[in-house]
């Protein structure tokens, strides 16, 4: 156990240590200052020339959003085209069929919104062509989209009054060429060395020890897994994701993949400070995020390492922790670490069965997605956090006796309206979706019996988890849910779309409106955002707005289950 804890401390410590230089680097490249990666500039210039884009043209916030939504729409059509015709396209050694339209729709949407909810199994549902040119492609560009939108908001927070917030395509392309590509390449290389396949060949035939012949799926997996983690995508190459021995072969790959999940979201928070040349501000955001992360992570570690009291009561040895649904080679602590990491960041890749987590650990993964801003997804995590900052600034501005202002810009009715709508959206989608499902099920349990493998409190948690995961664009599943039905496909699909684009549009709009306002320099009377007190304020605002609204639901799900298993 001690050695496992050391492993966890090393993973967390190393990620934070790496996040600092990466945050600095992100600020450097987005500002356009010289950096070691400038050798990639010709490649970027070539791309811009081919696309006919002038990367120096400054855009207003509306233009940014127009650009963002337009390319997203194009990608959607591309994904639909590939998935529905993949059977006839090259790179299909296993002769997997094309997807039916509804499944293709679901898959295209879910990868487009950086969620990666998978209603297929990678081994049989998609071809190598789809994996690489559709799914992996989307994993890069959607991560880049989030990062670029985040930089637009950074720009809006600079001193002075402006409508010009940089060039969207510039930030988007740089996010990919300078950050996502190099880091994914590095991670993929390690994975290859550790045994993850990287091949175009089809299934391999093996004769097992028992003498049976079995076919083992493989393919260009390592390339996809790198970006899957770094871009907070989470969609795995193989069906069981990072619990698969080829997707996550060793303790080392597990550690590195877990670091990959957290690295860019952490660095993005710090990049805010370096970009605005207010490093303390970045540390405030990072501090609040880390506090929230630890608040969820530490109890989860404790619970998973102490096992299930109901099993203990039966006399079962649980010294290794709660091992149900976990990979023996990874162990309980590493699985607990991953479970919280993947839910706070909207990543959604899993290395254990979340359905089998202790009830309160399950609640913590839910809370990670409900708050969705303790690190959060690449780029979009800060956008969610930004909405909470707006609310916190408003209340604390009043507390210090000034009409509220964010870094010198007045926060007024219009910004408040947008912030409130975005803050409302998340509980609305989660609670309304779960409520509709609960209503249908409660009306007619016999008809919908296939939905829930476990009725009762746990079944409630499963429904709640599915909608929370969709609304947080997370993509992980509690499982135990018969979710490949029209109801689940349609309802979660709608939630996915709303929960991706509105929380990008809202913060960018607020930032754009603020940027164009009169700038008031700071004085001793203005509220400083880079203080521990303000951080505490944001922390409470997040918990009260984002978490408290779910208290009754959590009471009926994980809390009720917790108290009923003998704690």
């Amino acid at each position: 156990m001690t050695i496992e804890l050391i492993g966890i401390l090393l993973i967390m410590g190393a990620t934070m240590l790496l996040a600092v230089p990466l945050g600095r680097y992100l600020a450097t490249i987005y500002r356009g200052d010289t950096s070691w990666s400038d050798f990639l500039a010709p490649l970027e210039r070539l791309l811009f020339r081919l696309a006919g884009i002038d990367p120096t043209r400054e855009m207003r916030w509306q233009q940014h959003l127009l650009a963002l939504l337009t390319i997203n729409l194009l990608w959607f059509f591309w994904a639909m085209l590939v998935l529905t015709t993949q059977g006839s396209l090259p790179l299909n050694p296993d002769h997997n069929p094309s997807m039916p339209a509804d499944q293709a729709f679901n898959t295209a949407i879910s990868f487009l919104v950086n969620c990666n909810l998978q209603h297929y199994s990678g081994e049989s549902g998609v071809t190598y062509f789809s994996q690489v040119f559709c799914l992996m492609f989307l994993q890069f560009v959607t991560a880049g989209t989030g990062m670029a939108a985040c930089v637009v908001v950074f720009n809006a927070l600079r001193e002075g009054t402006t409508e010009k917030l940089g060039n969207f395509y510039n930030y988007f392309v740089k996010s990919i060429t300078r950050v996502l590509l190099p880091l994914s390449l590095a991670l993929a290389l390690v994975l290859v060395f550790q045994g993850t396949p990287m091949t175009w060949e089809g299934k391999m035939s093996l004769v097992t020890v028992q003498g049976d012949t079995t076919a083992v799926s493989r393919g260009p997996a390592a390339a996809l897994i790198g970006i899957k983690q770094l871009g907070t995508n989470g969609g795995g190459f193989f069906g069981v994701n990072s619990a698969h021995p080829l997707e996550n072969p060793t303790y080392l790959t597990n550690a590195l993949e877990n670091m990959g999940i957290l690295l860019i979201p952490m660095a993005m928070a710090l990049a805010l400070g370096y970009y605005l040349r207010r490093p303390r501000l970045g540390w405030m955001v990072f501090g609040v995020m880390t506090a929230g992360y630890l608040l969820l992570q530490l109890p989860t570690l404790y619970l998973e390492m102490h096992g299930n009291p109901a099993l203990t009561a039966m006399g079962i040895d649980q010294r290794l922790g709660a091992l149900e649904g976990k990979e023996m080679r990874l162990g309980a602590p590493a699985s607990a670490l991953w479970a919280i990491s993947t839910t706070v960041t909207s990543n959604g890749s899993v290395n254990a069965m979340h359905d089998s987590l202790m009830p309160l650990s399950g609640m913590n993964t839910l809370l990670g997605m409900m708050t969705n801003s303790f690190y959060g997804g690449v780029g979009v995590g800060f956008l969610n956090f930004f909405v909470f900052i707006i609310v916190a600034v408003f209340i604390s501005g009043l507390l210090v006796g000034r009409t509220p202002e964010l870094l010198g810009k007045k926060v007024e009715a219009r910004e408040m309206k947008i912030a409130v709508i975005i803050a409302l959206l998340h509980p609305l989608l989660i609670l309304a979706g779960t409520a509709l499902t609960a209503y249908l099920y409660a009306r007619n349990p016999a008809d919908y019996a296939g939905w829930l493998a476990n009725p009762g409190y746990h079944g409630f948690s499963e429904m709640l988890y599915e909608f929370t995961s969709s609304a947080a664009n997370n993509g992980s599943g509690f499982e135990g849910l018969g979710d490949n039905t029209p109801w689940w496909n349609i309802s979660t699909g709608v939630v996915l779309l709303l929960a991706r684009y509105l929380p990008i549009i809202g913060p960018v709009a607020i930032a754009g409106l603020l940027a164009a306002k009169k700038y008031t320099p700071e004085s001793a009377g203005t509220l400083r955002l880079d203080t521990a007190t303000f951080g505490l304020m944001v922390f409470f605002v997040i918990w009260i707005i984002a978490a408290l609204a779910f208290f009754p639901a959590l009471a009926l799900g994980p809390l009720a289950e917790h108290v009923s298993i003998g704690y």
Binding site: F394, I395, L399, G401, A524
Partner: protein, 677 residues
């Protein structure tokens, strides 16, 4: 407290609390409107139980109690608003008494007079008022000087002097002339006089929601919506979990979670803010002006009256080389005998101390020509019948005069002028027939305690700027001694304007006070312009506040009132939202405990029973509103601290307090309620 809740006001406010239940009025406050809807639902449920008892909904008595508590919540919130308005109205009524129709003596074009009613006076007409009469309407004195009792508006019993010309020429309708006779030009149309506007403002008739109030209402509406979602979705959740929840429990959960405390007190806070300004004898033309005052970054303060006591006093005569002291002092005295300015009077007083009798010199003035002070010549004096020209004025003005006439300007005099200035004094140079007689030293007396006041402002992040007509050296000395951050010396009205513009360009908000017509542009340009009531009509029109006391230090109070208003909103919002934590822990276990006994573990307060828990929570929620009315009306205690310290303090008191207080309060109420349920 007694002044807060006078019996007459309470009676009126209680009546209004019921009148305000009208949904058309309630609709303007989204938080309380949803409470009203919930109350109506409870009424229907309660009445339904009367005819058809339903065990799942609880007893009639229990439901009726919940209904009554919700109704009380509404009434308490309405009462808070009504009492704030009633306080304003009481003030308005006393003002209205002074506006009763008074006779006015209109001067006709042919010079004759006609007695008409004050209501008939039109803008541009001219009337006459004599000692003992009430001034019928607002106007500008065109002839004469009078002492006037303005206590009807200001409450200040000391009479003031108003005279034609200059910056003290405006009179207000409703005030009484104590001595002399003045001829006044009507400056406002009937029904638009200052008093009329004041009454409308005070009564709240022209009160509009301020931008910050609107933004806060949106935030509160957002919280309300979240909890609508929470409560509505809870119904299918409960169906799934097979834990039936009574309608009363839904409504109670909802009403307790939405921010009723701040929602119920929000408009009272705004009205009380304007009311506090009024109590400080400052009339604000809009609630927004009070809010803006809280944001002020730069304060332009007139030196005289704000930083220094009254006026400068002559403290020393410094004769020029070769000039006889007596001759100099006599010259200075002669030039000051007709000078009604405090400086002039102080020169005469100093001369008397030096054994020179002003009365004896008075004779010389027979038939003399008086030269008034103007901004261009920056000097004044007399030309005696024998042709002797005596002038006194700013050093450079006299220097120009002497040098133009071809006389030398002694180096000793120049040095003395420097020395006096450097010492914080104001040098006045006196000349006779364009030859320098000597330097009169005037000294300022800095108000005691003003330094601490500026230090407080600095802690609040406000920059203070002293505006003075003094030369830069004097200004610098006084500025340093008083502890202001910056100064504008030898200030002309345009300088103020430029300074304000420059600060605003850098994004700062500027407040200033002024009285003269030439201050009007700057008053209009400033974000908060406070005009003195004694000032000209133009100044009063240009500013967004009027100070009835004509007290220049009022600006500082106005800023504090603005900050206090915003802070009161912030603290009550924080408190209201923080309360939710405890309310959740009171109600959520109560909802589920019967069906899922294990969830009783969440009942951390150990409340008696589900019904008593719900009742205790709604009772707490209702009682907290009247408990906080005094805070809403008086504003939170204001401490001049920096933003960081204020935030820490207010978060600790109202955030942490907001979490802890309801745990204690609900538990205590439950101990009582538990005896009955």
């Amino acid at each position: 407290m007694s002044s807060l809740f006078q019996p007459a006001l309470v009676a009126e406010a209680t009546k209004q609390a019921f009148v305000k239940l009208d949904p058309r009025t309630m609709f303007r406050n989204p938080v309380m409107f949803t409470v009203e809807l919930g109350t109506v639902v409870m009424l229907v449920v309660t009445l339904g139980l009367l005819f058809r008892p339903d065990a799942s909904q609880g007893s009639f008595g229990y439901n009726f109690t919940v209904f009554v508590v919700l109704l009380l919540t509404l009434l308490f919130a309405n009462f808070a608003e009504a009492i704030a308005e009633a306080r304003g109205k009481a003030q308005a009524n006393s003002l209205r008494k002074t506006r009763q129709d008074t006779p006015a003596r209109l001067r006709l074009d042919n010079g004759s007079f006609q007695q008409i009613s004050s209501a008939q006076l039109q803008k541009g007409q001219i009337f006459v008022v004599e000692a003992g009469e009430i001034i019928p309407t607002d106007g500008e004195i065109v002839e004469g000087l009078a002492t006037i009792d303005e206590s009807a508006i200001t409450g200040e019993s000391a009479p003031v002097i108003r005279e034609a010309g200059g910056d003290k020429s405006s009179v207000t309708g409703g005030t009484t002339v104590l001595s002399d006779r003045i001829v006044v030009l009507v400056t406002t149309a009937p029904g638009e006089s200052f008093l009329d506007k004041m009454i409308a403002l005070v009564e709240g008739a022209s009160r509009q929601k301020t931008p910050n109030e609107i933004a806060l209402t949106i935030l509160l509406a957002g919280f309300t919506l979240v909890f609508i979602i929470v409560c509505v979705t809870l119904s299918p959740f409960a169906d799934y979990a097979q834990t039936p929840i009574a309608i009363s429990a839904f409504i109670a959960l909802f009403v307790c979670l939405i921010p009723t405390t701040i929602g119920g007190l929000l408009s009272a806070i705004g009205i009380a803010g304007m009311d506090r300004a009024l109590r400080a004898n400052v009339i604000t033309k809009s609630g927004k002006a009070v809010e803006t005052a809280g944001d002020i970054d730069v304060l332009l303060l007139d030196k005289t009256g704000t930083i220094t006591i009254g006026n400068r006093k002559a403290t020393h005569f410094w004769p020029a080389p070769g000039v006889d002291t007596r001759q100099f002092v006599e010259g200075a005295t002669v030039s000051s005998l007709t000078d009604e300015t405090p400086e002039g009077k102080s020169i005469v007083a100093l001369a008397r101390e030096q054994q020179i009798s002003p009365e004896q010199l008075q004779g010389r003035l027979e038939g003399a020509e008086l030269i008034r002070f103007t901004a261009e010549t920056r000097s004044s004096g007399v030309t005696l019948p024998d042709g002797t020209r005596i002038r006194k004025g700013a050093a450079d003005a006299i220097r120009q005069l002497t040098e133009k006439a071809g006389h030398p300007y002694p180096a000793e005099v120049a040095e003395r002028v420097q020395a006096v200035s450097a010492n914080g004094g104001t040098p006045l140079v006196v000349s006779q027939n364009d030859q320098v007689l000597g330097v009169v030293e005037l000294q300022d007396i800095i108000k005691p305690g003003i330094q601490e006041r500026f230090a407080r402002l600095r802690a609040m992040g406000i920059k203070t700027v002293m505006v003075t007509g003094d030369n830069p050296l004097t200004a610098k000395f006084i500025a340093e001694k008083a502890g202001v951050d910056d100064f504008i010396a030898e200030a002309k009205p345009e300088d103020k304007m430029q300074y304000i513009r420059a600060e605003q360009q850098q994004g700062r908000l500027v407040a200033m006070m002024g009285d003269g017509t030439n201050d009007a542009p700057a008053l209009a340009q400033a974000d908060v312009g406070v005009a003195m009531n004694s000032g000209t009509q133009a100044a009063k029109e240009a500013g967004n506040m009027v100070d009835l006391d004509n007290d220049p230090t009022k600006l500082i109070e106005v800023v504090e009132i603005g900050k206090q208003l915003l802070m009161t909103r912030g603290t009550l919002t924080t408190f209201s939202i923080a309360n939710d934590v405890a309310k959740y822990f009171a109600i959520v276990p109560a909802l589920f405990m019967t069906a899922i006994p294990a969830l009783g573990a969440l009942n951390v307060m150990g409340l008696h029973s589900p019904q008593s828990a719900i009742l205790s929570a709604v009772i707490f929620n209702a009682l907290i509103i009247p408990a906080l009315v005094p805070l809403a009306l008086q504003g939170v205690a204001y401490k001049p601290l920096g933003a960081a310290a204020l935030l820490r303090r207010n978060l600790l008191v109202y955030g942490v307090g907001g979490v802890v207080v309801p745990f204690v309060g609900i538990k205590l109420i439950d101990l009582v309620v538990g005896l009955f349920v």
